[in-house]
């Protein structure tokens, strides 16, 4: 799915911006971002990001909490005004043509934005009225999106009686109700149990198949990022790298080896001196990358000179990609991000 332009990407004439699309001759950029930045006082939440998303593409922003993902999405959704830089969504500038942008985007936020005291159907009706959907189109469309997320039977239920997963599905249905060109999903599965998470991804993937919609999503779950056509890894307000999940994993090229040893310091020193490998401590284990890990392990036991209590070898995952490009795991990055108190950025964004 990486090169949409070559396999018959949907071309929506109105969506073609003035800027040439990045992904191929037939592609058209639905989201164009150039040097976008946002500061809150001294805190630089987003420090100049540039990327573009082709029509029909599913684009993921992957990074730890506090990396600037939510701030970026809030700017693209016109909820925050950029401090500098330009962003165009569905062909309209988010700073100067907010109304046009809002017409063409659907949103699913990480925390619920439903009215608990209304029924599922009333929440969607409210949305249809607010978006000025013609009456004769509203009813069939409402039914279609509710059936898609499997909530049509529950349409008369008050939202406050719904589980977290049902609420998220209802939000996805609502985000699609007005046929947006771009669906923004900010941490669509955060706070849900693994089974519900996989259901939500089932709906999102079906959506990609059925409606040629552009999706922009943020996540800090590595496994979820693999559902995307392309991923931007964001850390401390900057984009570190953008590519397809496959290409990113291939770029790491090496297997990840984790060791538990009797003497971690000694092991790291020995790896450097005897094998020329840079190892580091990550989540309590000595971690390093090496090509053809299985063949390396016998040598390791023979020559390391430090007692090894366990070894694990893994093919590169997006976790490793993050590690390779930022020098730390996403969990370690989150720990330092919370020190920067970047959570308050999202709080401020959310309050608006």
């Amino acid at each position: 799915m990486g090169e949409l332009g070559t396999d018959g990407a949907p071309v929506d004439a109105a969506a073609i911006g003035a800027v040439a699309a990045p992904s191929g001759p037939n592609g058209s950029a639905t989201i164009e971002v150039v040097d976008l930045a946002k500061s809150f006082g001294d805190l630089q939440a987003v420090r100049g990001v540039s990327f573009s998303v082709a029509a029909g593409e599913t684009f993921g922003f992957l990074g730890p909490n506090g990396a600037g993902k939510s701030t970026t999405i809030s700017m693209l959704c016109t909820l925050l005004r950029p401090s500098s830089g330009v962003a165009r969504v569905a062909g309209h500038d988010v700073a100067t043509h907010q109304g046009e942008v809002r017409k063409h985007i659907g949103l699913v936020f990480q925390d619920t934005t439903l009215d608990d005291y209304l029924t599922a159907e009333e929440n969607l009706r409210f949305h249809a009225e607010l978006y000025g959907i013609p009456h004769e189109q509203a009813a069939p469309r409402l039914r279609a999106v509710m059936e898609m997320v499997g909530l049509w039977e529950r349409r008369g239920g008050l939202v406050r009686t719904f589980s977290g997963g049902m609420k998220r599905r209802l939000e996805i249905a609502r985000g699609l109700l007005h046929s947006p060109r771009v669906l923004f999903l900010d941490e669509p599965t955060v706070g849900l149990d693994p089974q519900t998470r996989s259901h939500i991804w089932g709906y999102i993937n079906e959506l990609r198949r059925r409606e040629a919609i552009t999706m922009f999503l943020t996540t800090h779950y590595m496994d979820e990022a693999e559902h995307c056509d392309r991923i931007a890894i964001i850390d401390e307000g900057r984009i570190v790298v953008i590519d397809t999940p496959e290409a990113l994993k291939a770029s790491v090229g090496r297997d990840r080896v984790r060791l538990r040893t009797a003497d971690d310091e000694g092991a790291i020193a020995a790896l450097r001196d005897r094998f020329g490998l840079e190892a580091s401590m990550s989540e309590g284990e000595v971690t390093f990358y090496v090509a053809a890990g299985e063949q390396f392990v016998p040598r390791l036991f023979a020559e390391l000179g430090v007692a090894i209590s366990s070894v694990s070898i893994a093919r590169p995952t997006l976790d490793d990609v993050f590690m390779t490009y930022t020098g730390r795991t996403i969990r370690d990055a989150e720990a330092s991000a919370s020190e920067r108190n970047a959570a308050s950025v999202w709080m401020r964004a959310a309050r608006r």
């Binding site: 018959g8 949907p10 925050l80 005004r81 046009e100 978006y131 000025g132 279609a144 059925r210």
Partner: protein
């Protein structure tokens, strides 16, 4: 867009839902938005029966407990003509109180909307912020007027006749007051980030507005500082026209009128009812403008 034909690899199992058109920017769209925001307030109000009942407890206590108690205490100094007594006097004040508390509560529910995220659903919609604020104010005003109308139905118990002209006049004033106070509350809510601020608003804004309005006592023979404060209170110009209108229809001897029917004056000039209502209207419109401009800002 669903109407776009995709390559073979994307053939859907079922027909995709038909894409819909999003209107936007026209006056008709904004009116639809006003209407649906208004309707949501009414649905929520109708679903919360406990709120309807509980918010009537306080005015009824004021009217029948405080009113009866003070009436008994005052009965030596104050002439009583039939059912016309202190309760009759405070009745318009208690109706105004119902409007004040219900309107502020409705308006401040925006802070809950913010806390629970629903405000964002509204703020990202392609409608003018003014339409959202207007819908919210219309909803709050309607709810407050309904509550006040329930109180108005008790008029006969305090010696006020069910005269259609009187009731209609009072109804009109209630509607105006409910709109103005909801707009005021919305302007306050536009600057409130936390639910906890609600208590602050109650203590520092709502209660002073109520006590200074002359709802419970005549604004006469007061010390200078209190006189000034009462004349600055917009609620004063809500209570006074209602009370003067009530006393136009209450059969009471001059001695009773002398105590109870005391219109608000600036210096020695009695402020006409029309001017009082105009002040309330201007206040409401100004607050609406403040609320709209606050909500139109983007960080």
């Amino acid at each position: 867009m669903t109407e776009v034909v995709l390559g073979e690899k994307k053939v859907p199992h079922r027909a995709a839902p038909a894409a819909v058109r999003v209107a936007g920017g026209t006056v008709r769209d904004d009116l639809r938005a006003v209407r649906v925001v208004w309707k949501r307030e009414l649905i929520r109000f109708g679903r919360n029966r406990m709120r309807i009942v509980t918010s009537l407890v306080q005015p009824i206590l004021f009217l029948f407990v405080l009113g009866t108690g003070l009436s008994a205490m005052l009965s030596r100094g104050v002439p009583v003509a039939g059912h016309v007594n202190f309760r009759t006097f405070i009745f318009p004040g208690v109706v105004a109180m119902t409007i004040l508390f219900t309107s502020i509560f409705s308006a401040v529910s925006i802070v809950w909307d913010r806390e629970f995220g629903f405000l964002r659903e509204m703020l990202v919609a392609p409608v003018r912020r003014g339409a959202l604020v207007a819908g919210k104010c219309a909803g709050g005003a309607t709810v407050a007027t309904i509550q006040a109308t329930i109180m108005l139905a008790l008029a006969g118990l305090v010696g006020i006749p069910y005269n259609p002209v009187l009731l209609l006049s009072l109804f009109g004033m209630m509607l105006l007051a409910a709109f103005a106070i909801t707009a005021f509350g919305t302007a306050l809510a536009s600057r409130m980030a936390q639910v906890e601020s609600f208590q602050v608003v109650m203590q520092f804004v709502v209660l002073p507005l109520f006590f200074l309005s002359g709802a419970l006592f005549a604004l006469r023979n007061l010390p200078g500082w209190l006189t000034v404060l009462t004349k600055l209170d917009p609620m004063t110009y809500v209570v006074d026209p209602m009370r003067r209108t009530v006393f136009e229809y209450v059969p009471a001897p001059p001695a009773v009128r002398h105590v109870f029917d005391v219109p608000v004056s600036w210096g020695s000039w009695v402020v006409p009812i029309g001017l009082e209502l105009a002040l309330v209207a201007v206040f409401g419109i100004a607050m609406l403008a403040v609320a709209i401009s606050n909500f139109a800002k983007t960080d």
